[in-house]
Point group: C2
Chain length 276, copies 2
């Protein structure tokens, strides 16, 4: 039964829920692969990932008391050793440091990342991946995963200069896709893309000045779309070494933002290989 495993929290300073204290301020600090999941959709995906014994595990859940009844199926899906804490709105707001109207939080943990080679070896022979270099904006990171999920990408590859996809805002913007699309974040941009090229990936770097129109990219068994930062874009050594693609657009304009651009380009590539 759901109700018997609920643990009431009445004091914002209770050490059992310390990880949820002032989450806004602590958002940018590293936490040994731990992360805060917010909202019903993301909690459901986390519970599913936990049950599947994949890359993610739920460690604890903190709910607004009156949200419990609507979440009983998710709660029941979580093993008994994952504590479910509940609190009133007043206590919950005192814990997190602002008004949390959705009232659904969880602490998750990502298992240690394998090396890049092992990650790439696990990809299917027919593969479409999205790679990001220097993506530092959490909104853009979240949107990239959402796009990857929408268009059936097999993985997201990130260089070591990208922000952590597990930041609270990135996870929220991804609508939980960060928990469902396998990803890897390590290596320099050049090493990352070279490792992919070595394994047969056609590397297409997206740039407003890319050589090939995105609509003319040939269908191949292994394809990677690479996007860079919104400000500077991809560095010249990347653009000159690998294939580059452009999204044709009206002249004289600032390029599309990276979230939209990655969506358009991934849509086109997924269409080319008939994934959608």
């Amino acid at each position: 039964m759901t109700s018997s495993r609920l643990i009431e929290i009445t004091d914002a300073d209770d050490p059992r829920i310390a990880e949820f204290r002032d989450i806004r301020e602590r958002d940018l600090t590293g936490r040994e692969n731990r992360f805060i999941a917010e909202g019903t959709v993301v909690l459901r995906l986390l519970a599913g990932a936990h049950a599947a014994e994949g890359d993610f595990a739920a460690e604890k859940v903190l709910l607004l008391r009156n949200r419990v009844s609507g979440l009983s199926d998710i709660i029941e899906a979580l093993p008994a050793d994952v504590p479910i804490y509940v609190a009133t709105a007043e206590v919950l707001d005192g814990i997190v440091g602002f008004h949390l109207h959705r009232g659904v939080l969880a602490l998750g943990r990502r298992k240690a990342e394998t090396g890049l080679s092992a990650f790439l070896e696990r990809l299917p022979q027919r593969a479409l991946v999205l790679a990001g270099c220097g993506i530092s904006n959490h909104d853009n990171m979240g949107s990239m995963f959402r796009n990857a999920a929408a268009f059936g990408a097999d993985a997201v590859l990130l260089d070591e200069s990208c922000c952590d996809p597990l930041y609270r805002k990135a996870l929220r913007v991804s609508v939980g896709s960060i928990l469902t699309v396998p990803y890897c974040r390590q290596s320099s941009d050049l090493d990352l893309l070279s490792a992919m090229a070595d394994r047969g990936f056609a590397i297409w770097s997206l740039s407003p000045n890319g050589k090939v129109d995105i609509r003319d990219v040939p269908a191949l068994e292994r394809m990677a779309l690479v996007v860079g930062t919104e400000g500077d874009g991809l560095p010249q050594n990347i653009l000159s070494r690998f294939g580059s693609v452009r999204i044709p657009q009206a002249p004289g304009l600032d390029s599309l933002n990276v979230a939209t651009a990655s969506g358009i380009a991934l849509f086109e590539m997924a269409a080319r290989i008939k994934r959608i």
Copy 2:
């Protein structure tokens, strides 16, 4: 000369720059078609719109003193009756209420909007437009305009329930496209789309369950893409009355966000009619 027209502000309470006081807090209040433009790119577009005697005029400019020399061409493009105020970083931060590291602000005014009929009459015979119904998120609004500009749309039509595109954040996210793509915000969703249909526009409402694959939309002389709120999407009376399109995607997922979805759909439609 640039320097002779600069007006030094040394007191954050100076009434001449009162419109810039605490702009973050006042962002959501109506201001009789006045708006705050931020950053060099947006100021340049505002100056250009002013010079072209189009829909927008610049009323005053407030700059960080050490930004002036880099902006002299924009300053010179503005008529002499537009005051250019300058301040030190300390005074400027005191005025706006936070640290404004870009140091470029302007107060703009949009001229009174014409009626919907007059607006539609001015559109070219061959026209591609983006319409929004119930768009309340400022990021999405800004991105929609950026996409409209990127793919050469002739106008953006918004129903009366949409947020004001001139909100500070929407304008910033649009990278100033709100000042360059003609728009109109009035009428209910149904009246707006009916008025367009009456003038020969093929109306394509975007929905995850849309009947036609976006790649199969026929090229026509007048085409409108309609997007709704991210949460509820477009109401059923709109979807059933007009044509509906979908962006094919992996099953079982939350739909793409409206910024990305409008970008993909507009890209496809612009490609169909060979605008890009």
